[in-house]
Amino acid sequence: MGRIVLDKVTKTFGNVEVIPPLDLTIEDGEFCVFVGPSGCGKSTLLRLIAGLEDVTSGRVLIDDTDATEIPPAKRGLAMVFQSYALYPHMTVRKNIAFPLRMAGLDQAEIDRRVEEAAKVLNLTDYLDRRPGQLSGGQRQRVAIGRAIVREPKAFLFDEPLSNLDAALRVGMRLEISELHNRLGTTMIYVTHDQVEAMTMADKIVVLRAGNIEQVGSPLELYERPRNLFVAGFIGSPTMNFITGPEAEKRGAATLGIRPEHIRVGEGLPWSGIVGVAEHLGSDTFLHVHDTGLAETITVRVPGDVEFKHGDRVVFGPDEAKIHLFDANGLRKP
């Protein structure tokens, strides 16, 4: 089990309110990702759930029992820190065994669980090394190993991949997703990277300045962003925002269109001059200027096309994929 409910939780540091009253339910077995720009309170929220910070007001419920006053060790949650927080003077084996030793398990059981975790995480050959002798990805796996041996109700990850290089990040992303599929345990995962959020989550919670902007599945967020912030945050390259006559024509203050929902071809309504053309092979991203719509419009063209700097391009939106927002930045139905 691992159902976590935040009930009007707030957190203030001194007189700065980092988390305004916030309600959220994370279902058992769910992979929930908190995503938002740096400093928006993601870590704070995670630490409130873990019990490493005390809530200023409100309640944290774990499996329908009030855990607000329960100390971190007794909440049955395991956390993987951004810095990994491995114990540098202990071997990998001792690191992974530490929570079990603290729980007072007998040695045979400890050995069994450590060996098992090591096998799952491909760490068997490294059990007698110290963290200092491991690569970043291996350290990350030790930190995960230390979390899984406890068989917790839920895992909490705080930007676990941000210290890894890009290739390793993609690999670890898959490993964590697979781990979730196999264990079926609730996972709460904090990141500022919307790609991680989109690829891993069952449910994404978009945060801004401690406020929940939107909760939903990756596709819901992509297809029906509730406001301009979510629309701009989810999706890569980011959505184009157009104000002025084009938006007014459709009865909105702002018109949003994703780069992948713009087509290129003669006879379409918009045109401009190509500034930079990014050739990725599978796609080409055109950054178009002088369109009279916005500073730059990003257009994603499938495949490799022969556009270069200074070329004139004619393009237009896929009308069905247009997002409309009112003057307050909220989505128009």
Partner: protein
């Protein structure tokens, strides 16, 4: 310092310092070795020529020799244990966020700036004196018989004085070590179910190992040559005659430079034995 040219330039630049330090060490060392093989009594005939190892034999055969080695060891070990243990506790305390932290830290460091002679005098007259001292007053106010610390518990008194002088150093080094401890490690341990005591022994103490090594090594070097505190308080009486003090007595009170020098050579050997011993047990902490 990649090129050959810059390396030789570096050598040239370092030369004055190296030569100065070498001279500083070698001249007294050579003189000590030289005198230790001669019969040299400044007030009773001056330099009376070579005597081979006679000074060495006499120094060891003297009834004061082994007790002085013992006294030295007691002093060094006693002070090390007190400064490290109390230093860890004080550092732990000072690392907590509290009101007036800056001022408290400066106060804790203050004893380090007091000269040994002065602090020994202060302790002798203001704290330990059975009639005027603070401890004497304290004992009387509790209805107890005041203790004449310096004669009845002379070695513990000196250990107390020297510990007081060295505690700031130990505390300071250990405090910086505490401050370099990653707070996420403590939080991880907390989530792993380690209580405050377990966190202290499993996370903090291992983290401090290197700092403790540094404290022990540096303090040992200075503690082996403690002199002023003994001179001012007991004058070497009541079992407080350390090797350093014995050498002083041989050279200045008995006016026997040869014998004292032989003692000096023993002191050097002792210091090296201690150093090797320490390096063996704690030195591995410095590698990692």
């Amino acid at each position: 310092m990649a090129t050959r040219h810059s390396r030789s330039a570096a050598r040239l630049m370092m030369a004055p310092a190296v030569i100065l330090l070498l001279g500083w060490m070698l001249v007294p060392l050579t003189m000590t070795l030289w005198f230790s093989f001669r019969k040299y009594l400044p007030l009773r005939g001056g330099d009376l020529g070579w005597v081979g190892f006679e000074n060495y034999v006499r120094f060891v055969k003297s009834a004061s020799f082994w007790p002085s080695v013992q006294a030295t060891m007691t002093l060094v070990v006693g002070v090390l244990v007190i400064t490290v243990v109390v230093g860890i506790l004080l550092a732990l305390l000072l690392d907590q966020p509290m009101w007036g932290q800056g001022v408290v830290r400066i106060l804790v460091i203050a004893p380090f700036f007091v000269m040994p002679t002065v602090s020994a005098l202060v302790w002798k007259n203001l704290m330990l004196d059975p009639i005027n001292g603070f401890f004497g007053h304290l004992a009387r106010s509790l209805g107890l018989q005041p203790v004449d610390w310096l004669s009845q518990a002379s070695m513990p008194s000196i250990i107390m004085i020297v510990s007081w002088e060295w505690l700031p150093f130990a505390t300071l080094i250990l405090l910086t070590a505490f401050q370099s401890l990653d707070s996420e490690q403590l939080e991880a341990a907390e989530m792993d179910g380690a209580g405050p005591v377990a966190r202290f022994f499993y996370i903090m103490v291992p983290h401090l190992a290197r700092a403790i090594t540094v404290v022990i090594l540096i303090q040992t070097i200075f503690l082996l040559s403690i002199f002023a505190e003994i001179f001012v308080t007991t004058g070497g009486a009541f079992g407080t005659k350390t090797l350093t003090y014995l050498i002083y007595q041989r050279v200045l009170e008995s006016q026997n430079v040869g014998l004292g020098s032989a003692g000096g050579v023993y002191a050097i050997i002792l210091a090296n034995i201690v150093a090797i011993f320490l390096m063996r047990i704690v030195g591995k902490n410095l590698d990692a």
